[in-house]
Structures are given as C-alpha cells and as structure tokens.
C-alpha cells in the first residue's frame, strides 16, 4: 500500500538552541502506510510532538523530506497549508479548546473555516459528537466537562471533517486508565472504518492492551 506518511532523513533543530546541541529530530526516517494504526512511542522530549508539528506544517524541517499523501509538507507554500490541515484530523497535546464557546461551536470550527453551510455543518457536528458519545452535551461549555469528555470534544473536532488520517499526540496522557481505554477504543473504531491513525504515547501499558506497530523515538532518533 502507498505510504501516507513518509519521513526520510528529517532533522529539526530549533533556532536559539545550543549551537551544535542535540536536534529535536535527528535524521529520522519512517513510513506509515494508508490504513495502518501506528504508535509513536518514547519518553517526553524524545521528539514525538515535533513529528506532529512538522506533519501539521506548524514548523518546517531543518533538513530532510517529509511527505504526506505524496505532498512535500516541508516545502509547501503558506497559502497551501490551510488546505493540507483540512485533510488532517488533529488531536494535540494541549487541547486548544475555546472556552468561550460551546462544545458545538468548538467542533464546528473546522467546518466553519472551510465554508460549510450552517445547516450541513450542524448535521455533521452532531454526527461527530454522536460518535464520541457527547451528543447530549453540545450546548455545554468545555469547562463544564470532565477531562475525558474534553478529550472527546477534541476527537470530535478532529474527525468532523472526515479525514483519512488522524494524528493524536498523547490523547490519553491526562486521563486515568478507564477513560484512556475508552478513548483508545474510539481510535480503534475509526481505524476499523479505514482511517489511518498515528498516535503518540509514552504509556506502554496502553499498547499492551491495544496492540499495534510501534515506531520508537529516543533523543530525536528512531530506535530499531
């Protein structure tokens, strides 16, 4: 199967870091095929979040090539980036929910920026909230929800565009085991429906309960 994600020799060094110091990512190469469920593992500081920031074109690589659906993300024009992001389902470590808006409006955001009409958008938001089990909470403010529920709002926002690729950075980090399992079951369900999933976690017990291929990062390098 064609690779959805392809890193080859990707290095990311932050400006202002120590000269000659360790790179956040150092000559990293790996592929993720379409339809795969892949864990990106490693301790914090291993470079997992940098992989996500590069994939979402929040940052550009210092060296190397990273392809997403055969598009060179590292060299993409600023004008093209929004359209790349619309095809990604992003669940970031810091949740980035807007606390002055309802759950519904938070999930609506990716559709609103794409110009989906309010009627069509409302239908799709409810479908996404239904999938994560929050249909009854659409009028709530995210602040009124538990940590697990907030994470579900993030997942609903990530899938509302029906992306072919879900990127989740430590989606269970702040949750206790029972909530974490429920979240993982959601990702497994999306995977079963054909979505490619790349999920970063430092929690090895989680992988034991939900097996999948692993790409292990340590100190910015892929461990063989």
């Amino acid at each position: 199967m064609a690779a959805t994600i392809s890193f080859s020799g990707v290095t990311k060094r932050y400006a202002g870091g120590p000269a000659g110091g360790r790179a956040a990512l150092d000559n990293v190469s790996f592929d993720v095929a379409a339809g795969e469920f892949v864990y990106l593992t490693g301790h914090s500081g291993a470079g997992k979040s940098t992989v996500f920031r590069l994939l979402a074109a929040i940052e550009r690589p210092t060296a190397g090539t990273l392809l997403l659906n055969a598009q060179n993300v590292g060299r993409m024009s600023v004008a093209a980036i929004p359209f790349l992001r619309r095809n990604l389902g992003l669940v970031l470590q810091d949740q980035r929910l807007l606390y002055d808006r309802t759950v519904f409006d938070n999930v609506m955001l990716p559709l609103a920026v794409a110009g989906v009409t309010p009627a069509e958008g409302a239908r799709r938001v409810r479908a996404a909230l239904d999938k994560v089990g929050l249909l009854g909470r659409e009028r709530s403010n995210p602040v009124a929800l538990s940590g697990g529920e907030q994470q579900r709002v993030c997942i609903a926002r990530a899938i509302v565009n029906r992306p072919a690729l879900l990127l989740a950075d430590e989606p269970t980090a702040t949750l206790d085991a029972a909530y974490a399992d429920a979240i993982l079951e959601l990702f497994c369900a999306f995977h079963a429906a054909g979505t490619t999933v790349l999920l970063a976690t430092h929690d090895t017990s989680l992988i034991a309960r939900f097996p999948g291929r692993q790409i292990a990062l340590a100190q910015g390098r892929v461990q063989q």
Partner: protein
C-alpha cells in the same frame, strides 16, 4: 447559499456581534473618527462655496469709474464719450448719482439714514467692462482712466475676486492637507481598535489556523469591522457637517438683505457625501488589514 456567501455572511455577523458586545468602545471610536473627518469635510464645503462665488464674478471683471462729485452732467457725457471712443471697451453703463440714490432709497433701513444727509452724497459712476480681461490689459486701462478729467477714483472689481481666489486656493490646499492627515488618523485609529480585538482573540485565531483557516478567513471579520466602523464614522461626520451647513446657510440668509449672497450658498454635495463615507470605509478597511497582517506575520500556526 454558496460556501463563499456563507463565509462572508459569517464574517459580517461576527463583526457585528463584536461591535454589539462592546457598544461603548465602538461608539467612542466612531465618534472620534467622525469629528476628525468632519474638519476636512466642513473645510471642503466652505471652500466649494467660496470658489462658486469667485467663479460668478470671474467671467467679466468690471471697472467702476467714480466721477468727482462736483462734475456736471455735461462733464459726465464728455467722459462717457471719451471712454467709448477708446478701443478695448466691451460695454459701458452709466449710473447717475440720482439713480444711485434712488436705488439706495429703495433699500429698507438705509432710507432713514439718507434722509438725515444734506443733498446727495453719491457720485456719478461709469461701469466699464473691458474686452480684454487679462490682468495686464485691465491694469493699463485703469491707469489710463485715472488720467481722464473729472475722474475721482477707479476701482477694479476683479481685485477682490483675485484675493478671494487666492484665499480659495489656500483653503483648498489646507482642506486637502487636513483630509490627508486625518485620513492617516482614520487608518491609525482603525489599526489600533482592530489590534485590540485581534489580541483578545489571538487564541481563537491560532486554533482556527490550526484547523485549516486561510489567512483570508482569519482577516475577514476584522476587515468587515474596520470598514463598517469607517462607514459609520463617515456617515456621522456627514450628519455633523450637514447640521453645520444648515446653520451656516440660515445665518447667511439672515444677512442676505445687506449682502448679495446666492441661496444655498454652502452645499454638501453628493460627491462630498460619497467621498467622505466611502473613503472613510476604505481607510478603516486598510487600517484593519494592516493590523491583522501584522499579527498574522508575528504569530500564527503557519510557518514563515
């Protein structure tokens, strides 16, 4: 409804909602902008009125030749003949001292004043219109007329018109300069108002960018806000100046009994109204655009 229309409708609704959330701040900005815009607008109205007055007299300058008071009717006829025989005279009109007195006596209020005077204080006057209205020709004619017998004084009516024209030119320059400076002020005020909004919504902009918002989408509600604020300020300044013009015209009509002032002396032309409102909207838009651009360049989830 197309996606395009949905995007614009949403941006407009967003801008209006923001204005409604901060009514005092919005009204104060609009008020400050309107006062700033009213200055050059009022200046333009006054300059426009004065230039219309100047244009009315500009076409044919007149030379008034006043005779000495003791000159007789015969002297006057001789002078009239001498002037008529001279080349370069287009028309010559005689106003005898009796006619002048009769004209004055017809004017309310002056009659009583005249009744107190012994005899007729007015001289005979010849109104000469030169064929050549260039300044040099008029000056030459004036000198020549002064040397004729029985001429007490020669007054070129164009002189005050020239002064008025110079005044109008200066006024127009000042109004244009004010308009330019205050136009920059509109951009600056819009820039700052929008900047404040952008900063309070920075997180929202960042999240939206992360989920695929284009720069155009991020900018749009602010551009609408800037343009609407400018439009409202322009409209308010038109209302302010309109009131000023109405008061000015009323005052002038009261004075029209002693000075000949055309009706509707000062007018707020449609052209001025449109320039002020739309110009202000465009300037507000420009200020907003600059403000959002600065923010997006400095902080956004898009790599530089």
């Amino acid at each position: 409804m197309s996606a395009w229309a949905a995007l614009h409708r949403a941006a407009l609704a967003d801008a209006l909602a923001h204005a409604a959330r901060t009514p005092f701040a919005s009204l104060l900005s609009i008020g400050a902008l309107a006062v700033a815009l009213a200055l050059p607008l009022a200046g333009s109205v006054v300059v426009g009125a004065l230039s219309r007055v100047a244009a009315r007299f500009d076409a044919d300058p007149q030379i008034s030749v006043f005779l000495r008071r003791e000159a007789s009717a015969k002297d006057r006829q001789a002078l009239e003949k001498a002037i008529r025989s001279r080349p370069g005279i287009k028309t010559l009109k005689v106003i005898t001292k009796e006619q002048a007195l009769a004209d004055l006596q017809a004017t309310e209020g002056v009659r009583d004043l005249l009744a107190g005077l012994p005899g007729n204080p007015l001289p005979d006057t010849l109104i000469v219109a030169p064929a050549d209205s260039t300044r040099a020709a008029i000056d030459a004619l004036r000198t020549e007329l002064l040397q004729l017998p029985n001429v007490a004084a020669v007054q070129v009516d164009a002189a005050w018109v020239e002064r008025l024209e110079a005044f109008v030119r200066t006024g127009r320059l000042i109004a244009t300069g004010l308009a330019l400076m205050l136009g920059v002020a509109v951009v600056a005020v819009s820039f700052n108002t929008i900047r404040l909004q952008v900063l309070t919504r920075a997180r929202e902009l960042d999240v939206a960018a992360l989920f695929g918002a284009t720069r155009a989408w991020l900018r749009r509600p602010f551009l609408y806000f800037g343009a609407l604020q400018g439009l409202a300020a322009g409209g308010l300044s038109v209302a302010l100046v309109g009131t000023f013009v109405a008061i000015l015209n009323q005052g002038l009509r009261a004075g029209a009994a002693i000075a000949e002032i055309p009706d509707g002396f000062a007018t707020l032309t449609l052209e001025l109204v449109l320039t002020a409102s739309l110009g202000s909207a465009v300037l507000g838009w420009v200020g907003a655009w600059l403000s959002v651009r600065e923010h997006l360049t400095a902080h956004s989830s898009a790599p530089g």
